[in-house]
Structures are given as C-alpha cells and as structure tokens.
C-alpha cells in the first residue's frame, strides 16, 4: 500500500484516548432491579429534560429521563411533536446507548507522526484549540479564507458554519445533498418551484394511495412518515411499492412491483402515458395549475406499458392496474419523492418524472397528497454581517451541475486534491463535524487523494469513527443528551419550535459544538460572531423574541407558533402562483431547458450486471442510522452486523449456504475488507444483492462495530454523477462472491 501523507490511524499502540475495549454487558441505569419487588418500580426521583433526537435527521422532540442519581435511564417522545407524536423510533429510544458507549471520544487528541505510523496523543482543550486556531489562521492567511472547508451533518454543523462564515468561507457541504436528497429537490423545484425538504410534506395521514419508488418506509424509519403510513394501512389505503427487493413495506402493499433495478424511469413514464392516454389525470388541476401538458402528451406517446415491460420486467397489466389505482385515489395520492435518491446519475430526471406524475394526479397542495409546509421563523441572534468570500464551491463547478442549489460535497473533495488545483481557488483545510466521510462518500480513492493533499484536518465527532483516523486534531463533542443546541425549526403542518437541553453533565472531557466553535472563534479574532458566554443566552434571547423564555421551554420542551404562510392545502378553485419561470407547475421545465437539459425526462438505459455479477443495492435497517449507530450498545444488541441478501437461485449457482461468510468483489476488483454472512432469501431479485448500509467498520476503537459486516461504500467505486446537480449515483456497482477465506479480518 502506498505510503500516504495522512495515513488513516488505526488503533495506536499507545492506546491513547484511553479507549476501554471489550465492554461486556452494560447496565446503563443506576440501581439494580429491586430485589424486594416484583419488578423495577419506577424511580421516585425521576426527572425529565426536553431534547430533540440526533440519531437521525428527522429531529423528533422528546424527553430525556434521569433517575434519582441523575443518571440517564430512557428517552421518550414528546406527545406534542408532529414529527414523532410522542413515539420515538427504535434509534431514538436507543439513543441512551450513544451516551453510555464507553468507546466514545473522551478528550482532545492530536496526531503525532512516528516512524511506525502516526499515533494520537491526549491533549488538553487549551492546547488542542490553540493548535486548531493557529493552523486555521495560518492556512487561511496563506491560501485565503475560502481554503478552509466544512463538511457537516447534524447540529454541530450550525455552530461551525457560523465559525466558517465569520472567517469568510462558504465552502460548507453536507452529504445529505449530493449523496442523498439533492436530485429530488432539484426535480421538484423544476416542476413545482418548490423543493421537498425535510421532513417531507407528504400528507400520508390522509392519503388513499401511497406509491413508493424504492423508498423503504418501515426500514427507512423516518418516524412521522412511518407512523402515518401505519395509519394509512389501518384505513385501508392502497400502497404500491416499486422495489427489486421485497421490502418490509412491499409486504404490506397491495401491489409489489419487483422492478429490474435502474429502470424506474421507464415505469414512471409508462404510468404517465396511461394516465394521459386513458384520460385519468386530474383535468381541472392540470388545466388550472400546469403548463406544458401537450408537450408531455406528445413526449410520452410511445412510452406505453408494453414498451416499459421490456425494460422493467413489470407487466403491462400491472402497470395499467397500478396507474388506475393511483387515479382512483386522486388527488389523495402520493407518489413519494423518496429521500436517498442518488442512484443512477439520472436521478434528477427520475425525480422530475415523479413530480410530473404527482402533478397529473393533482396531489401537490392537496389533502392526502402533499401539504404546504410551514417552518417556525426564529429570529437570528444579533451578530455582524459575515464577510463575503472571494469564491465559493460554485466557482469550482466549472460549468458542471448548473442546477445544484446547495454545496456539492464531492466538488469540495475534488477541490482539495493537489493535482486538481489549477487555480488559486483551493481547499487546504477541513473541519469535519458529524459526518463519517469514509463510509459516506462513494469513491474512496478520491477521498484518500484529498486527505493526502490537505494540510490540516480537524474532526469534531462523538465517536472514534473512521473519519477521525484522518484527523490532525480530534475534538470530542458531547452527545445530544449532554448539550444545548440551536432551536429546532423544521417545517411541518404547523410551525413548532423545540428545545434541546442537557439532561446531565458531559462525560469525560467532551464539550458541545457551540462551545468548540466559540472557543475557536474567540481565538481567531472572531469574537463578534460569538457574542455570548453561554449558548443559553442565545436561546433565551430567541425564545423571548417568540414570547417565551428558556425557563419556560425547559419545562415544556416545545412551543407552537401561528402558521405564517398560507393554507395547508389549495382551496377549491384557488389561484396559486408557483415559483417556476412560468408561475405554473411545469410539465415542460423551462429551468431545465435553459440549463441545457431535457425539459421532459427521457429514459436512458443503464448497464446491467455482467455474467456472474449482481447489482449491489443497499438500504437501511430500522434499528440503525448509517454508520453512526453501529457501535451503540443498545442498537447493536438488536442487530450487530449486516448480511448480504441473495436469492435462492443465485445461492444455488454459487453453492452459498445461509450464514456462510463471503467477501464481495466489485467490477473494479475491489474486495470488501471484511467477510459478510449470506442470507438466502426469496425477498430479493436474482440479479441483485442487498446489504444494509453502515456496517463493516475498520476502526478498532469501535469495540462492538469493528469488523462486523460489510461496508458497502468501499465497493461503490463506479459513481454515476448526475450532470444536473452533481449527485453521486451509487447503485451502478456490480459484485461477485469470493467464497474462499481471505483471512482479511486479521490484517485489517
């Protein structure tokens, strides 16, 4: 292996960081079950503190409970919260494990170069902060403020964004755009003049027909949606699931369409064809609100179910029957935009087709379709204007991805690679907060080249995830249960504000991100943007502007504001100006046309796996969030590793048995670092294999997660980039089985 400048630090011989290994059974609550009782009697000294969950980005509001000794015992949902309705998902309930994980980062760590490879040494906050502030100042003095980039996901990002903006850089990216939702936001924007956003404004509660294109609700455990879907099932709503895998929700669907992967666009166009040519679309809605219908009609003329059948393997009858089911439910029908939609590089166009389908069904702005969301308006704490950066990530697009409306993470990675740096707009230092890039970004090769080029990397994280192995300095954040954060301002049917406050002191020497950002700001001469000594001052000021106070919110946790924007749904016959060039819902997108893209989606065929190879598809398990929960004691207790799902026919060809360990090798000869157990199951097409994303951790500091299961990201070397907005299509990778024992576990 090439000796790179910034070798990933595996476990250091020093074992610094005092990482406790091999914790067996953990008891997280204080008192043992009372011996004289039939059952643990609830603690009289129980206290609760408001929070909102950070185990995923749905941000459910809840309560952290502590016992008489002030130890965290459980987390329950806040009944007022429309994100969770008092019920957290398993990950939120198991959030206690994030706090009790003994493998957590405990104090600042600084890289020390060594002949036998680098190691980390424990440092004081003073030293670590001084070092980071000095290095960032040096680098921005030398290469410009913009040369410092921030990669973030989650709450820490807010505080560090302030730091970066105050420095004069706007090179801030989150993987939740180009690796996740980006394409659908652009696709819907180009159609309705509004993006989807999070949480999705899907009115599943009242829908009569829910169409899921790959979206695997129930495994994708985004709470409010799952809850509303269950209600919909109760009410007998029709569910149509398009998925090459018999997902959980497929098993609850009236129609399961086991599509050949990578062909969804053909199915969507055929549905559009049926709706138009069988005249089953919402005529009033189309007449009143849309534009480009005739062009669309012409465009899909030849895209019959018979045409789509040859591509998708879904029969014409199934296509017609499902299209009619949607039309019957119209307008209370949702063709779900999906969330992680960076699949095949033409994802924005697929999302466009989904948007168009919704428009034909008249579901946008309709009860049981999509509601008009509203977000609470929370006043900004007073601070000076940010200096304007000389350049931003947009200047690095070089004519690519013209419709990208948020920073494209992969473009910033590229701008960090020495060989790609042809002008003075370069990235030289990274702050990474709350995103585990090595397991998150496809094309590891590119990422490693960036790490090799970078002069300085700071990681703000709670866990010794893979990303920390590339850091020069690691700053340990405390978990969400131990800190204040920015108020939650996510949109919903009604605007609700939620508070997160600590339920206990931070463990070890961990600190909240707001404190870290402020400490760095203070040291870098940016005090004016951190004009408070404690974040509670900011919160109290904001809450007072809203007519409450921190004290009140510490009791209530949430407050509801008045809905500021218009109505939840379109009123009967209401005129409505959409935020598109034409002011209408655009079947024919002027925005796309102007940017040089097909104004209406066109199907292009993608390669299918060669003989002996299978398409690698991946998804979620309900009890885990990506890689972030893989070491959580409570959640690994539910599922400790992923399996590779293989159809029995495929298993027979390869002689694979249930539980057998295999390695996967992709089309570029990349072999997984760890073996993975086979699950032979009828729940998947024979041409694909499936694994849950987030496993196969390679950092030994993760005592429970290390070497458990397989990391899909390392097999995603073929990235099909979406030319429209830069999304990284990750499902064009084909794998085969390596059944001999490569003994890689030992060396990794």
């Amino acid at each position: 292996m090439k000796n790179s400048r910034r070798d990933f630090i595996r476990i250091s011989a020093l074992g610094l960081g005092g990482v406790a290994l091999g914790v067996g059974s953990i008891r997280w609550a204080g008192a043992t079950t009372l011996l004289d009782g039939e059952d643990g009697v609830p603690d009289a000294g129980m206290q609760r503190y408001p929070t909102f969950c950070e185990v995923c980005f749905w941000k459910c509001a809840g309560w952290t409970y502590t016992d008489g000794q002030g130890r965290i015992t459980k987390i329950l949902g806040n009944a007022d919260d429309p994100h969770c309705n008092g019920r957290l998902c398993p990950r939120g309930t198991g959030g206690v494990g994030m706090y009790y994980d003994e493998d957590r980062l405990k104090w600042p760590l600084i890289r020390v170069p060594g002949a036998e490879g680098d190691t980390f040494r424990r440092a004081s906050w003073e030293e670590a902060l001084d070092l980071v502030a000095r290095r960032l100042k040096e680098i921005s003095a030398k290469h410009g403020h913009e040369s410092v980039a921030l990669f973030n996901h989650g709450s820490a990002g807010h505080h560090l964004s302030t730091l970066l903006n105050a420095m004069g850089s706007d090179n801030i990216a989150a993987p939740s755009y180009a690796q996740c939702r980006g394409p659908r936001e652009v696709g819907f924007l180009g159609t309705f003049g509004a993006s989807v956003g999070s949480p999705e404004p899907t009115d599943i509660r009242d829908t009569r027909c829910l169409v899921l294109i790959g979206s695997h609700l129930g495994e994708n455990m985004h709470n409010g949606q799952v809850q509303e879907m269950a209600d919909a099932i109760d009410r007998g709503a029709t569910i149509i699931t398009v998925d090459p895998r018999f997902s959980t929700v497929a098993s609850k669907s009236r129609f399961w369409l086991p599509i050949k992967p990578a062909t969804d666009l053909a199915l969507l166009l055929a549905w559009i064809h049926v709706l138009i040519y069988e005249e089953r679309y919402d005529k009033d809605y189309v007449a009143r609100y849309t534009e480009g219908f005739d062009q669309l009609r012409e465009h899909v003329k030849a895209m019959t179910p018979e045409w789509a059948y040859g591509i998708t393997t879904i029969t014409p009858e199934q296509i017609r029957e499902t299209a009619r089911a949607m039309a019957d439910a119209s307008p209370a029908v949702i063709v779900h935009p999906g969330r992680h939609v960076t699949w095949y590089g033409d994802d924005t166009q697929r999302s466009r087709a989904i948007a168009i389908l919704n428009a034909l069904l008249g579901s946008w702005g309709r009860r049981g379709g999509f509601y008009f969301k509203t977000a609470p308006k929370i006043p900004h704490f007073p601070m000076p204007e940010f200096p304007s950066p000389r350049w931003t990530w947009k200047d690095k697009l070089n004519g690519r991805y013209p419709l990208a409306d948020l920073a494209v993470s992969n473009v910033l990675v590229e701008a960090s690679i020495a060989e790609e740096q042809t002008d003075d707009k370069v990235v030289k230092a990274w702050i990474v907060a709350g995103t585990n890039l090595p397991l998150t970004m496809p094309d590891k090769e590119q990422l490693i080249r960036a790490f090799d080029s970078l002069e300085f990397v700071v990681v703000v994280d709670t866990m010794p995830m893979e990303i920390t192995g590339y850091a020069d300095v690691i700053l340990p954040e405390c978990t969400y249960l131990e800190r204040y954060d920015e108020l939650r301002d996510s949109p919903h049917r009604e605007p609700w504000v939620a508070l997160r406050m600590p339920a206990t002191e931070p463990r070890w020497e961990t600190r909240p991100a707001w404190w870290i950002a402020k400490q760095l700001g203070d040291r870098m001469g940016l005090k004016a943007w951190f004009n408070y000594s404690d974040y509670t001052e900011v919160l109290d000021w904001q809450l007072r502007q809203l007519g409450s106070s921190l004290e009140e919110m510490q009791q209530k946790g949430m407050m509801k504001l008045e809905r500021a924007s218009g109505t939840l749904y379109l009123e009967e016959g209401q005129d409505f100006a959409f935020n598109t060039p034409s002011g209408k819902i655009e079947f024919y997108s002027h925005m796309f046309e102007a940017a040089g893209f097909d104004p209406m989606p066109v199907f292009t065929a993608h390669p299918q796996p060669p003989d002996g190879y299978y398409r690698l598809i991946y998804g979620r398990a309900p009890m885990h969030t990506f890689s972030r929960t893989a070491n959580n004691p409570n959640l690994t207790d539910l599922m400790e590793e992923n399996n590779v799902w293989v159809n029995p026919k495929t298993a027979r060809v390869w002689g694979l048995r249930n539980g057998q360990e295999v390695y996967l090798k992709n089309q570029d000869e990349v072999v997984s670092s760890f073996p993975v157990k086979v699950r032979v199951t009828e729940r998947i097409r024979w041409d694909s294999v499936y694994i849950v994303h987030g496993f196969g951790h390679s950092n030994k500091w993760l005592s429970r997660a290390f070497g458990k299961g397989l990391n899909d990201s390392e097999l995603i070397t073929n990235v099909m980039v979406d030319p429209i907005m830069g999304g990284t299509g990750m499902r064009g990778n084909f794998v085969t089985f390596v059944t001999e024992d490569l003994g890689k576990e030992a060396e990794a």
């Binding site: 009890m623 207790d637 539910l638 599922m639 029995p648 032979v680 199951t681 009828e682």
Partner: protein, 313 residues
C-alpha cells in the same frame, strides 16, 4: 423457501439460539436421585419381606451409598441454582403442582431417614462401634425397634423419589422430547436398575446377586419396551415430536444414544447377566458398571436433547 428468523432481541444467554440452561448438574442429580431411590426401594422392600438375612447387601450395605448419593445429588442441584442465596425459599412452601417442590421436600425427608437407616446398621458393619452420646445409643435402639416402620416410610419415599426423577423432565410439556408420559416410568425403571446394579456390584453373595440379576433383567426388558414405545409415540405424534425423535434416529444424538444407552447400558449387561445366570463366570463389576454408565449417559442425553427441541409456531 421458508425462512423463520428472530431478527432482534432474543439472544438471551442460555436461551438462544437454543435452550442450554441445564448442564451437567441436572443429569447428575437425576442419576444420583434415581440410584438412591433404586437402592432404598429394594432395601426397604426386602426388609419388609423379612429377607434381610438372605439379602444383606441389598438391605444393609448398599444403602450406605445412599446418603452419599443424595448429598452429592443435592450438591449438584444446588450448584445449578442461579440464585443460590435464596435456596431456602424452597422450604417456605409446598407446591404440589411443582415436581421440583415435592422433590425438594422428598429429599428433605428421605435424606435424614436414609442416614438413620444406615446408622442403624453401623454396629453390624463395625462391631466395636460406639456412638458418642448416650442419647444416640438410645435413639439407635428405638430405630432398630421400629425398623419395619422406617422401611415402610423409605419404601414410599423411594417410590416418590424415583417417580420424581422421572417426571421432573416429563412435566415440561414445552420440550417436545420430554413431553411424554413414558418418560416417568422409564426413568423410574432405569433408576431401579441402576440401584440394583450398584447393589449387585457390592454383593459378594452369589444367590443374592443372581436374584438381583433376574430382577434387573426384567427391568431392562421393561426399559427396552418403554423406549420402543417412546419412539413409536413420538413418530405418531406432532411435527415437533417427530423432530425430537429424529435427534435419535439420524440426528445428532443417534450414536451416543444407540451405542452408549441401548447397547452398552442395556443390551450388553443384559447379555452378560443372562450368561451369568446360565453359569458362566462374569465379573459382576462389568455389567454393573455398564448399567450405571448407561443410566448416567441416558440422563445426560435426555436433558441435553430435550432442551434443543422446541415448539414451532
């Protein structure tokens, strides 16, 4: 293809992936309990029949093993308890529905009585034995006077103990392998057989031995008959019981069961005993040991295999 998976939870140690809760302690306990019951049963029986002269080993000497066996057995049971400090809770209540409970009480009674029984023969074994205290001497006198009553008590308790070691397992309907009414009599008979084997081994008197040997042959015959019925019953029963039987008919316990229990523990000693009765000279230790080992392995296998079998639903 059908899949049945536990997708989360349920990796409770000792319970999953299959029940593995009772280890060596329980089969040892059952074996020693059965052995003690067997010895005492015949001791009491022949004593009541007034044959203590013809059958001295049976009535007097073999029972010396009993207190030892019972104490060891109880020790094993105690070791098996996971919440040992609360052991005394066994004796705060009598629960007739629970074999464990009346087993514990039976042991509570039979152990001291068996000690008294053998104590009353100490002086016959060691002629110049003196009890330390005078009251013990007078107590001994009392016991010897009422030995017949004691024999009756022991007879009854030995039967209860024997049945108990048999039905302890078969009371657990949840384990298809144990869920058969044949298991109780089978363990009882097997216990009697091990008791006789131990007695036979100790006995120097050929007449006593051949008498015991004849009884043992009958017991072995009954055991074989019961085992045949056990399997016929399983195979004619529900899927889980067929599956349970399969453990012995091709499954993982096939060899150990047929080789050690059936051949070594039953057929081989039976043949030797027949030869002995036909006048061939066979060292008694061989069939006796074979029966004892067979009986022990039988209990190990039944406890182990029973825990593997479970309901399907």
């Amino acid at each position: 293809m059908k899949e049945e998976l536990i997708i989360s939870g349920r990796m409770n140690p000792g319970i999953d992936p299959y029940l593995n809760l009772w280890h060596w302690q329980i089969p040892i306990y059952l074996f020693l309990g059965g052995l003690a019951a067997g010895i005492l049963f015949f001791a009491a029986l022949y004593s009541i029949m007034g044959k203590d002269k013809e059958m001295p080993t049976t009535v007097k000497w073999a029972p010396f093993l009993v207190p030892l066996a019972l104490t060891l057995g109880l020790g094993a049971l105690f070791l098996d308890l996971k919440h040992k400090l609360f052991f005394w809770q066994l004796y705060t209540t009598i629960r007739l529905d629970s074999p464990m409970s009346w087993g514990a009480w039976t042991l509570m009674l039979i152990t001291p009585l068996s000690i008294i029984w053998v104590a009353s023969y100490v002086k016959e074994a060691i002629p110049d034995w003196k009890w330390k205290f005078a009251w013990l001497e007078s107590f001994e006198g009392l016991v010897i006077r009422y030995r017949l009553a004691l024999a009756w008590a022991l007879l009854v308790l030995a039967i209860i103990l024997g049945i108990y070691t048999g039905i302890l397992l078969s009371a657990f309907n949840a384990r298809p392998l144990w869920n058969t009414s044949i298991l109780g009599p089978l363990f009882l008979v097997s216990g009697l057989s091990t008791g006789i084997a131990a007695t036979m081994w100790m006995s120097k008197d050929p007449r006593e031995r051949s008498r015991l040997s004849r009884i043992d042959l009958i017991l072995i015959g009954i055991e074989l008959f019961l085992i045949t019925h056990l399997f016929m019953g399983f195979l004619a029963s529900s899927a889980v019981q067929i599956e349970a039987a399969q453990l012995f008919l091709g499954g993982q316990f096939t060899v150990s069961f047929w080789v050690f229990v059936i051949v070594l523990g039953l057929l081989f000693p039976a043949v030797l005993e027949i030869l002995e009765l036909r006048g061939y000279h066979i060292p008694m230790a061989i069939p006796a040991l074979a029966i004892l080992i067979g009986g022990l392995i039988f209990r190990f296998i039944m406890v182990e295999a029973g825990q593997i079998t479970r309901y399907l639903y």
